[in-house]
Symmetry: D2
Subunit: 400 residues, 4 copies
């Protein structure tokens, strides 16, 4: 139960932090300008590519991926790096080629892909030559219950034919997102968790129709490819595009979730740290009723609560990472569920209070806070709402 970063983790985290301070944070206003300069455009802005080249040159690249293909870090080693990237979620994860949903998709290809699939899609993703999307959630189904999935994948000779509608396909508005991993049902009559399969669907396949972008509290998240609603209308792909076996979709999705959640949670800790840092700065600079905000007891209380929460939850996330590394993702399920519930909502409160400390600037785009809020709020819905996880975790706690 030693959570301390080892030498490798410490060294990489330190370099990531320097990179963040020297390159990423100063790039935020640049991104803002580049976004404003071409408001209708969904392609990544030049600053992202610049940061990627610089990061890759420094070896700050694919850090999320264990094994030969990536940086070979354990979850516990990667966790503090992920926290650093949470300080600037619009730029840092992409800069390090560690942005969702590409990370999860690369993991899936790495763990379950055929050699051909890896060559065709994993290679370009690892080089950031292309981006990807994950097509799982559907507008007409509660996505926390996989048996609700309505998209059908029919075998037809040497092909699969896909029919269905997906939304919240993050990144899919970006034309560089060349490959979609799609979850659908190959056998609706199979056992509950054997009905689903995953297939690779190239973006340019006939029948794939990007319906519209979705917004999150008014944000289109254009910087990382937005969120698309996509219609799949008799989309035909070769049978070799199947990932793993037929009926393995649910298991692959579960395997994808564990690391995804810990990455989300560590980034969320970083988001909370940034919100707290902004609070500290603002509270010392701003005055009202004859004293600085830093002298107002309610601000002190909020700062203390934020610090307590961040410390306790970071430890819980690190313990989870350590468990995943030592006993495996499955054995760490309780902890993964616990952090999935506890971290986003705590960070949401920290960000919300930071907004309150900033007043009008907090809800506007003059600080990153409102956008951080929108992001963290959505996390409490994505991958199943908090309430489903609470109920599931509670059931296992109550098992006598």
């Amino acid at each position: 139960m030693d959570f301390a970063p080892d030498d490798t983790a410490r060294e990489i985290t330190a370099r990531a932090r320097v990179f963040l301070d020297e390159h990423v944070l100063p790039a935020e206003p640049v991104l803002e300008e580049q976004l404003a300069a071409a408001p209708g455009e969904w392609s990544p802005r030049p600053i992202v590519r610049e940061l990627q080249e610089r990061a890759r040159a420094q070896g700050l690249w694919n850090l999320f991926l264990p094994g030969d293909q990536g940086a070979g870090l354990s979850n516990l080693q990667y966790a503090p790096v992920a926290e650093v990237t949470g300080w600037s979620p619009r730029l840092a994860p992409a800069a390090f080629n560690c942005a969702a949903p590409d990370t999860g998709n690369m993991e899936v290809l790495n763990d379950f892909g055929t050699p051909e699939q890896k060559e065709q899609w994993l290679g370009p993703l690892l080089r950031a030559d292309i981006r990807s999307a994950f097509c799982m959630t559907e507008p007409d189904a509660a996505s926390s219950d996989a048996t609700n999935i309505g998209t059908r994948i029919r075998r037809d000779g040497d092909d699969y034919v896909i029919t269905g509608r997906k939304w919240w396909s993050t990144g899919a508005m970006n034309p560089d997102a060349a490959i979609f991993i799609l979850m659908g049902k190959t056998d609706p009559d199979a056992d509950r968790h054997r009905q689903q399969s995953m297939v690779l669907v190239p973006r340019d396949t006939p029948g794939v129709r990007i319906v519209r972008p979705l917004t999150v509290f008014g944000y289109d998240d254009r910087d990382h490819g937005g969120h698309a609603e996509i219609a799949f209308e008799d989309v035909r792909v070769p049978a070799t595009n199947l990932i793993g076996a037929e009926g393995a979709g649910f298991a692959i999705a579960q395997a994808r979730l564990g690391p995804g959640r810990i990455h989300h949670c560590m980034r969320a800790i970083g988001m909370g740290e940034r919100a707290l840092a902004l609070t500290v700065a603002r509270a010392n600079q701003r005055h009202g009723f004859g004293r600085s905000l830093a002298e107002q007891p309610v601000i002190r209380e909020w700062a203390a609560e934020a610090r307590i929460q961040l410390e306790a939850l970071r430890l819980l996330v690190l313990k989870t990472a350590w468990l995943m590394d030592t006993v495996g993702n499955r054995q760490a399920m309780t902890e993964i569920q616990a952090i999935k519930i506890a971290v986003p909502r705590a960070v949401q409160t920290i960000i919300d209070r930071a907004i309150q400390v900033h007043g009008g600037a907090g809800v506007s785009s003059d600080t990153p806070l409102a956008e951080l809020y929108a992001g963290i709020r959505s996390l409490r819905i994505a991958d199943g709402p908090d309430e489903v996880h609470l109920s599931s975790l509670g059931r296992s706690v109550l098992r006598a």
Copy 2:
């Protein structure tokens, strides 16, 4: 302490409700289309004018304004109408010419304006020929402390010369907003609450520079004229543009606040009711894990809590309105402060839970919820953050 709507209130509220159901709610998607059709445009969309004409023809017009100039309703009579308009804050208040900040500005002109000021500005506002803005908050000052105001209004012969910077001037991006009421300091050395004055600044006065629009979360609130940052650079207006006397600015602002707060709170109750109505509909339609959301205990708990809060707080708002009508705004200060604190945060929780019930649809623009959230969240900052009001109210409670 009879809060029941009298016949007048009941009749007008019923008609407002019919108007909402028949004209306003169906107009929401129309507004959306008209906004999308001209994304760069700050002018009001045609649908707003259409609704206004229809409402005016039905006498659903200027209902907020007591006395001859308006509909002559008391606060207690107007309150349930305001609640109705809260169901569609983007359209209903404007449709009835009861939208902030015009309402407050019209009240100020009505109560403190000279005959000339009334003729020139109040008349067109009452007819909705023009719109207006209120320039009070500043980027560099905690606006809850009026002594922090940095904008200067210097007397120079028969003119006033204004220098300063304002932001969160709601509605000011709309080119129809022809007149600004500006708060600044005429005498920084006077007593704390006698330093400020208000002047009328026509939009087209030289030196008035609209710097930029501000966003609330990701929304630009284009439908009601956005929120502007405005620079006033040696802006010269005739001395007759002063409202009331020099040094009366703080008192006028206070007078403006009481009704404004009760309007906001009643609309907020309506927002909460809409969020609850959406929750009820969604919970009965959506299924997961073998039963409807309406059968999930956590959703039941949220619905029950929402109903309890809305009932209790509506009564508190009605009592406040009744007090304002019977003993006056000043005597109702404690209650006004109480509802200012209690209503927005309760409604925020109701909306947030409605979002959670809707999942991805809740944070997107497929429901009005995320935008309602952004609006209600901002209310907790506008006119002084909750914390300032809590502290002030607490001080008077603790006065032994």
Copy 3:
């Protein structure tokens, strides 16, 4: 919807308040001494009888009971009187002969009793010659679900024979509690809500065995007769002791609940007011770190929150009383449920914070706060836990 106290209510409430200040509050330390003087004794202390005589002489007597037998007050008229008694729950309700469970028992006898039952038991109760208990809750059943009741009432010739075990029979440790109203099942095979009946069981009936007193936190509530666990071992009573008809027990219990809940809630408001009054006094008297507690923002925040909650919830309770008076208890079920949920927990928070303001004195017997806390905390369990009511209220809210 006029909640204002009418002349009658105003006059009686004013006199009750004077009585509280002049006689009841000064009697609290006397009660404490009389309790300490005979620690093992469950009989009422002399001070209670003294207060009763004085109150009765002033006509402050049986105010809870509508109709000829009582003071003839409506729920709306009685509500502010009940609030006054909440300031001193150990003494004031008993002083006015308005203490639970006698109030509910008298209502049951008044509404459902035969002339003989009234003469034998209601008369002495109205004169406070005897006290009573209500035997409903059982140790082995979740009492919020009436079908769980295990106590059996078998007809045997002209008698009923009762077997079962009850607990939380409040007041039953007091030897003056001469009559018990017991709820049991006469027909376990009948419809869900027709299985239960109520019978009168005189305390001295053979087979009635007081097993032990129960404590609430560390309090034995000796001052109002404690809470007993009672075994009923083949207890035989004449069939004329049945209240109403066989199978009517559930309906009678429901009828008993409505007024009981509103009384509890109004008293709870009074408890909250007392806690707030103690907070105000303490905060102005106590100093730390160079200023009075009343100048500490956190205390101000608590005081403000308390005032807001008490105002809003009092209105909700008054509206409920008004509904009960005008449309009947059944039509007011939603509101009765709402206040049953909302009031005790809000008052619990107010009392808890008052404890915090008082520090060590708050948890000790030097203030009434810890005992008030124990009482209000228990209210959230009695008559069904909050969660059952929330779920039930939510179900009706969600009914599309």
Copy 4:
């Protein structure tokens, strides 16, 4: 940052756990009987002595004390043992001679006592031949502000003469509490934190008067010597009874606090675990509305929340222990403050919900829950209320 228990800690904790299960938990009803058998008696009950003898024989003795005199455990090693004792706070700490305030008093004597003081008082305490009390808090002063202390310690020749009044002297009602460590002011004009000194006051010194016992939510805590109010009326002790130097009282108190707080927090975690274990048992055994409580979503939610909180806070406490061991108590001040704030309130919620799950049994003495509640609630007042610590922690967080 390795928090895992090492072999020593694992072995001792395992034995402590076995001892708890085999001897302490079964002794709880015995204690109850022995308390009931002699209700007026403040001496420890025989069962405590029995457990002590058995524990001492097994080497489960003085585990809290580092160094030669104790078991030589580090904070990190002792922490899980302290958690075990939290399962039965009335018996387990005493059984292992690890009960407050003796632990803190022994630490003070061990660290700051003269050889004579150690021989006279530390030896008997380590053997549990006597007990002790700590006289710090005063009825007339906010004890979180040490400059408020009113008790005076005047030098008079070779003696000190003490005048003042203390309360919440835990354990002092027990006649075996032979020695009191008293904090008072030797020099009210010295620097803020140099005014106070500590002296040893034998219980039987003339002028020491036990005024009365205090209760905590109705509990007199008789099992561990209660809480006394004590008058010190011209109490004369030899100058050699001074602990450390004159003016060192504040520093010694601070030194005493660190370990005390971590012990309290670890025990609190144990209290929370017991409440959760009781919840699990009850929820599986109790039924209502056709299913077990364990199937009710709200109970699941509570169980999940409890597990999350206990996991996260245990890690924070362990990290604090580890910091104390590695960088020292002073460097761990932020963390010590954080756990002092966060742990008791989280455990309070867990216990409160466990009470709710148990219904009437929860507030009574049929479960340990209500008494655990009273204990944990008091912790949020003792050693300075939460609010003082929040403000202090916040100040350091906001230090730019």
